[in-house]
Amino acid sequence: MSAPLHQRLARVDRRLIFLAIGLSVALPLILNLRLAVRPTPIVTKIFDKIESLPPGSRVLFSFDYGPSTMPENQPMAEATLRHALAKECRVYLMTIWETGPPQIVRAIDEVVKKDFPERVYGRDHIYLGFKAGQQGAINALLADFKGLFTTDANGAEINSFEIMQGVESIRNFDLIVAIGSGLPGVKEWIQFGGDPGNVPVAAGVTAVEAPLLYPYYPRQLLGLMGGLQGAAEYETALIAKYPHYETQSSQAIVMMGPQTVAHVVIILFIVLGNVAYFLERRARKKEGR
């Protein structure tokens, strides 16, 4: 006689669950499932801000993440960088994460070199590099920007660059775009950079961190791209305004198909798990336990 349904459900080998999740992501990737994404106001606020910046505006980008969260953070980083350069802003690329430099180099290769080859290093954009010290680094940048960044990432003297003229503190920037995935990250940029320096902060974070930052929106945080969905929303807004960037700026949009299918599978697992629970509870009541 076979075991009751709830017992069979409870005994499901977890490796079957792993297989189901793996397939729910792999199959849509193979089949190239693509779904339309709609931008939400919290993301379009960032888009509208960058869109409104006059040419020559100073935008500080901080890529505070590593390979572990690249699928979420890299698309939003590249989309906002592409947008800022399209608006002819002066972009300053830095990081307070040790694993940030390769992400910046990747963004330079994919965005600056491919889409804006005419932009001049040191005049239109600069790669400042990594500084240790977490919020201490941001504190130092607020007090004395060039005191911390004495050279760019390649070791050239900081004052030799035209783009660094007039930059003494974070206060000299028109916008900070912080792309982060934990500590230190967006929260520290708000606390130690945006609030004391009175500079608007736009953020792109992993999905895990996004709900924690809502209290800062909208007074202390201009806008927020949360996770892959946030990145996809920004890419959608960018492509709507600049259709010629569709090929380069669709990384997150492409990944939303598998993401959606996996979410549905997870919800089904939760429902199934609760069905097993309620069946077991009913069986126990019948037995008088």
Partner: protein, 227 residues
């Protein structure tokens, strides 16, 4: 010396940084700038300490032939190869080349090992979160049910499917569309709950900071024998 000097240092550094906010002039502003850069430098020494500790632990394990000591050889080998490649900028065309430039061995090793290893370690969590959702996420109480419902709305609403499932709802009921509901949940009750947590944590940190600066809290003086 073992406790009195550290307590005095903590007091002086902490107080001068607080005063720098209210008196943003010399000498406090200068102290703020210098201390910030010094903090960054000390963070680098902390990484060196971490590396040294790693070597010490694993070399001890190898020397004593403890269980799984062979894997410690892998750790030490990977550490030394990466360290030498990075410190000596192997493969770089000149000494002033970026240490993680495209031509360096350090970058190649980073791309071949660090990136896939870190990314894959984190992606394993997707499988475990699915397994945990199946086995542990039970609507046992009303509160748990509310949590589940909120999670389900977010999971669906933060994907394109959320809009597709409920787009048919008429305009007066548009607020019940899953995508709009998820936006509302995040921007209203989630905001309220997170704000309450944030304020609570802020009060805790502020009181801890005051206790540390005044020397009332001394647990951070651990390490070595007490005075």
């Amino acid at each position: 010396m073992k406790t009195s000097v550290p307590i005095a240092v903590t007091f002086l550094v902490g107080t001068s940084l607080v005063l720098a906010i209210f008196i943003p002039h010399t000498p406090f502003s200068t102290l703020d700038e210098h201390f910030s850069v010094w903090f960054n430098i000390l963070a680098c020494f902390a990484f060196t300490l971490g590396g040294g500790n790693l070597l010490k632990t694993h070399l001890t394990k190898i020397g004593r032939r403890e269980r799984d000591w062979q894997y410690s050889v892998v750790t030490v080998g990977g550490f030394l190869v990466m360290l030498v490649a990075g410190l000596f900028k192997l493969g770089a065309p000149s000494w002033d080349y970026d240490y993680i430039g495209r031509e360096t061995w350090f970058k190649h090793i980073y791309d071949a090992t660090f990136t896939p290893l870190q990314a894959t370690m984190f992606s394993l969590l997707a499988f475990f979160v699915a397994s945990a959702s199946y086995r542990a996420f039970r609507a046992k109480t009303r509160e748990a049910t509310l949590l589940l419902i909120a999670a389900a709305v977010i999971l669906l609403g933060r994907t394109p499917l959320g809009h597709v499932l409920t787009a048919w709802l008429p305009e007066p009921l548009a607020f019940l569309q899953i995508s709009n509901l998820s936006t509302w949940i995040l921007g209203v009750p989630n905001l309220a709950g997170q704000r309450a947590i944030l304020i609570g944590i802020a009060l805790g940190i502020i009181s801890s900071a005051i206790k540390l600066i005044l020397g009332i809290e001394r647990s951070h003086l651990g390490g070595g024998r007490d005075a």
